[in-house]
């Protein structure tokens, strides 16, 4: 079989030579390796990321906590068509549709909207099929991690946890994800 790397060594159970039985060469070899790491860490600093202060950037393909987007005027994009719920292989999405009333035009973009929109985060497998199914570009998976909790009930995320804020600073940027999705749907010729 061809090896994947050229680092593999064939194990031989032969008698050790005197030099090998002294163990000291092997000991010094090992100590040289740790010393190299020690000196490297002293000069260049460690390889680790100091997590709470320093965060690793997410890859564009990262799929985390969903967001329900608003349009430029702050109206919810979702029209409660139910395609996401149909596409969901884990059946994590449920919604209740309602008709937009007079005077609610600044809240909902379409005439029909989702009065209730729930994603069960315990069921969700973060596959991203909902965003591909969405015709209104309303739902996206973001690079936020769904936090842990003690109670199952708290994992059913309603609209208050899914819809982004109206204020410009509360909007959630999904441009990276959007770009990735368009590239994926229309592969470069």
């Amino acid at each position: 079989m061809q090896s994947l790397t050229n680092r593999s060594k064939v194990v031989v159970n032969k008698e050790m030579s005197f030099g090998e039985r002294l163990y000291l060469p092997a000991v010094f070899q090992g100590m040289w390796i740790t010393l190299k790491h020690f000196v490297r860490a002293l000069i260049k600093g460690p390889n680790t990321v100091r997590y709470p202060e320093e965060k690793r950037s997410f890859a564009p393909i990262w799929r985390g906590w969903h967001v329900l987007k608003r349009d430029e005027e702050g109206r919810e994009r979702c029209t409660a068509c139910g395609l996401c719920a149909v596409a969901c292989p884990a059946e994590a999405i449920t919604m209740v549709a309602a008709e937009r009333q007079q005077g609610e035009e600044h809240l909902y973009r379409e005439e029909k909207y989702a009065a209730v929109y729930e994603i069960n985060m315990l069921r969700c497998i973060f596959c991203g099929l909902c965003e591909e199914a969405c015709p209104k570009e309303a739902i996206f998976l973001t690079d936020r991690i769904v936090p842990a909790d003690y109670v199952r009930q708290n994992f059913i995320f309603g609209k208050e946890l899914l819809v982004e804020g109206i204020e410009p600073d509360k909007r959630i940027d999904v441009s990276k994800r959007q770009k990735h999705l368009t590239e994926k749907q229309a592969p470069p010729a």
Binding site: V27, M31, T34, A41, L42, P46, R50
Partner: protein, 342 residues
């Protein structure tokens, strides 16, 4: 006049003992931090950095934590021996530092002050004696906990200590033959400049170093407390400050062992250009501590490099390699002394 002299001597020694005690405890406390930092650096990590700048308050936080924890005692433990063991371990560890010469004589307030608590004419034997007592803390603690892992650990520790003490003593005999003295101060004085014993006793030094590792229960010889097999060994059942005493005393032991190595083989406070002035004496103290810290680093370096020995390998190394080698070393040294000194 005589009374004044004795009072001054008593005061001087008390201050010295107090200072030595503080320094020993301080070094042991910060050795715990240093160990974690060294380990981190060798594994490309950061190590403790949450308490204070660079984690410098970590030992204090650890100490506070140890004091605040619940002091749990197993129901089936042998009550008095269980309490006695950590104290005995700590006491023995602290006692050994008394005979180590930390520097030359300084002249303070017009009288010579030796930086050594007691210049016993049998200093090296005193250290051997007290290290051999160190095992009682482990044994009694392990037995009194009434736990099978602790008992295993106690048995291992005792066998290991006895085996390695033998090779250690034989390695030291060669040095004693060479220097003709058992006093650590005289040994240090003989190694003026760079005339260190290690140049004459490279094999002896290697044997002594390995045995020191084993006597301190340090990796790769930490058979008595190997976490993976004996889940902590003799201190499995200990908690709170009793556990703290055990762990702390181990670092004190390491500090003292490194100081002994520095004095016996690496000239102690000697360095080329040591002058008898006040400043020179202080420099000697610094050099002595630097050598000690270097060996503490080597101890840690070894711990984070080498895997633990298996128990039978440990005994093989001790009895079939180190003891015969030490005997050969002793014979060679004897011949050397005979040929060159007559």
């Amino acid at each position: 006049m005589f009374l004044l002299f004795t009072t001054a001597l008593l005061l001087e020694k008390s201050i010295l003992v107090l200072a030595l005690f503080t320094v020993t405890l301080g070094v042991a406390a910060y050795a715990t931090l240093a160990e974690r930092k060294v380990a981190a650096a060798m594994q490309d990590r950061v190590g403790p950095n949450r308490t204070g700048p660079f984690g410098l308050l970590q030992p204090i936080a650890d100490g506070v934590k140890f004091f605040m924890k619940e002091d749990f005692m197993p129901n089936s433990a042998e009550r008095w021996l269980y309490i006695l063991a950590p104290g005995a371990f700590m006491f023995v560890a602290c006692m050994t530092s008394a005979v180590i010469p930390w520097g030359t004589e300084l002249t303070l307030f017009g009288r010579p002050v030796a930086l050594q608590v007691a210049d016993l004419n049998i200093g090296i034997l005193y250290i051997l004696g007290f290290t051999s007592l160190g095992v009682y803390g482990v044994m009694v603690g392990g037995w009194a906990s009434n736990n099978k892992y602790s008992l295993y650990s106690a048995i291992r520790a005792s066998a290991q200590m006895i085996s390695y003490e033998l090779a250690m003593g034989l390695a030291l005999i060669a040095v004693v033959m060479l220097t003709g003295t058992l006093s650590l101060r005289e040994m240090a004085e003989q190694q003026a400049g760079l005339n260190w014993n290690v140049w004459y006793q490279p094999l002896g030094f290697l044997i002594f170093f390995v045995c020191a590792l084993a006597e301190c229960n340090r990796a790769p010889f930490d058979m008595a407390e190997c976490e993976t097999e004996l889940i902590g060994g003799y201190h499995t059942e200990y908690s709170s400050m009793k556990l703290g005493f055990f762990l702390f005393a181990e670092y004190i032991n390491m500090f003292i062992a490194c100081a002994v190595i520095a004095v016996v083989y690496f000239g102690g406070y000697n360095f080329p250009g040591l002058d008898p002035s006040w400043l020179g004496g202080l420099m000697g103290l610094v050099v002595m501590l630097a050598k000690t810290f270097f060996f503490i680093f080597v101890f840690m370096w070894i711990r984070w490099t080498l895997p633990r020995f298996r128990y039978d390998q440990l005994m093989q190394l001790g009895w079939k390699t180190l003891v015969p080698l030490a005997m050969v070393n002793m014979l060679l040294t004897g011949t050397f002394v005979l040929v060159f000194e007559s």
